[in-house]
């Protein structure tokens, strides 16, 4: 009875193992895409001379998570970094005109 069960469990185990590794690979690919997008946005903010320290810190945290194999966390951080970088770009662009509101005249 046990032998039969083990025999049928093996393909199931292999299937699960295969599925999990496929998921993990997907996470790493997701991370790479998210990180590249975040980095590009941060670089663009750099050309506008307006990078945020929190963007840099979040990018670093994303990389650290990825190095530890925690791809879900890493992807989340990378997406957050991109949001921060995008906000910094928005700030730099809109401030090109908005600064005049603050000017002493």
């Amino acid at each position: 009875m046990r032998n039969a069960m083990l025999k049928s469990a093996l393909p199931l185990v292999l299937l699960i193992a295969g599925a999990t590794s496929a998921l993990a690979e997907g996470s790493e690919a997701d991370f790479k895409v998210a990180y590249a997008a975040a980095e590009a946005a941060h670089k663009e903010a750099g050309t506008l001379r307006n990078q945020w320290t929190t963007t840099a810190a979040t990018l670093a945290a994303a990389k650290k998570s990825a190095d530890a194999g925690e791809f879900d966390q890493a992807t989340a951080s990378a997406k957050e970094a991109r949001a921060l970088a995008k906000a910094s770009i928005f700030q730099a662009t809109s401030e090109k005109e908005r600064w005049k509101d603050m000017e002493i005249r």
Partner: protein, 287 residues
């Protein structure tokens, strides 16, 4: 986790706020008028603080608060910057390896000239600050440049400022469109909000002088560079203008630029110009 959501919220709120409160009016094509700017700048602060004499604005937070003024008076009796000042004097007169000295690079042997910096160099087409000039002098004489944010540069500029104590800021904008552009860029930098905290220099030093940011009393922008370099208790030492600019940036969560980048040179130019007439009080002591 709460911090993360807060950041998302803040970024979204920022975007929303900027969209909602977008400036409706068209600001007339500005002709750059530094003379009018300086006049308006001084009027703004003297109106805001009618009890403060114009020349006292150079004492920053100490002129904003009676309690702090008493502390400042006492501090001036035995100022904490004496050691740095002495070091600066010694460094200034020490010859380079090639036998030349700093005095060979500057008018009047470098004595009593701080109030003329920054100036616009028409040959180069850029603003030259005192810190930059000092390092160029070193490099021209085969010496390595000093860091713009460390003790040596602070000590040197402290000594040069000391020899100019009492002299009014005398910044010139030559009749050159590039100089006007540098001035205008400096002005723009000063009022532009940056960093995740969305502060401009003006947020603290125009909108909130005399008020507190955490435990510190904020200085007014008028006369703010007159006391540079400053011995800050927070730094336990003397710090340069470059150090102040870069740390202000990082404090509002903006990645600082490189010291003596164009933006910093230009904002120093602008801030110095609008404080023309106010006396050099450097080196200064600050909390």
């Amino acid at each position: 986790m709460r911090l993360r959501s807060a950041i998302h919220l803040a970024s979204a709120a920022l975007a929303l706020a900027l969209l909602t409160f977008a400036a409706p009016a068209v600001i007339a094509a500005d002709t750059v008028d530094p003379v009018a700017d300086a006049k308006a700048f001084k009027k703004f602060f003297t109106d805001k603080f009618p009890k403060v004499k114009l020349e006292d604005f150079v004492n920053g937070p100490y002129s904003m608060n009676e309690d702090m003024y008493k502390q400042w008076e006492e501090k001036e009796q035995f100022p904490p910057y004496e050691f740095s000042l002495e070091m600066g004097k010694e460094m200034f007169s020490r010859p380079f390896k090639n036998g030349k000295r700093f005095e060979d690079c500057f008018p009047n042997k470098g004595i009593g000239i701080r109030q003329n910096y920054p100036y616009f160099d028409e040959k180069e087409g850029k603003v030259i600050t005192l810190e930059l000039a000092l390092n160029r002098c070193r490099e021209a004489n085969g010496e390595p440049p000093f860091s713009y944010v460390r003790d040596e540069m602070a000590a040197l500029t402290a000594y040069m400022a000391f020899t100019s104590r009492g002299k009014p800021f005398d910044i010139k904008i030559p009749n050159d469109p590039r100089a006007l552009e540098a001035y205008q860029n400096g002005k723009e930098y000063f009022y532009t909000r940056r960093g995740q905290l969305n502060f401009s220099c003006a947020t603290c030093h125009v909108q909130s002088p005399g008020e507190r940011i955490r435990a510190e009393v904020l200085a007014p922008a008028l006369g703010i560079l007159n006391a540079m370099p400053i011995y800050r208790s927070e730094w336990s030492g003397m710090g340069t203008t470059s150090r102040r600019f870069t740390t202000c940036n990082s404090q509002i969560r903006g990645v600082p630029l490189t010291p003596q980048d164009d933006e910093y040179r230009n904002v120093e130019y602008y801030l110095s110009y609008v404080s023309n007439g106010l006396p050099i009080s450097g080196p200064g002591a600050r909390p």
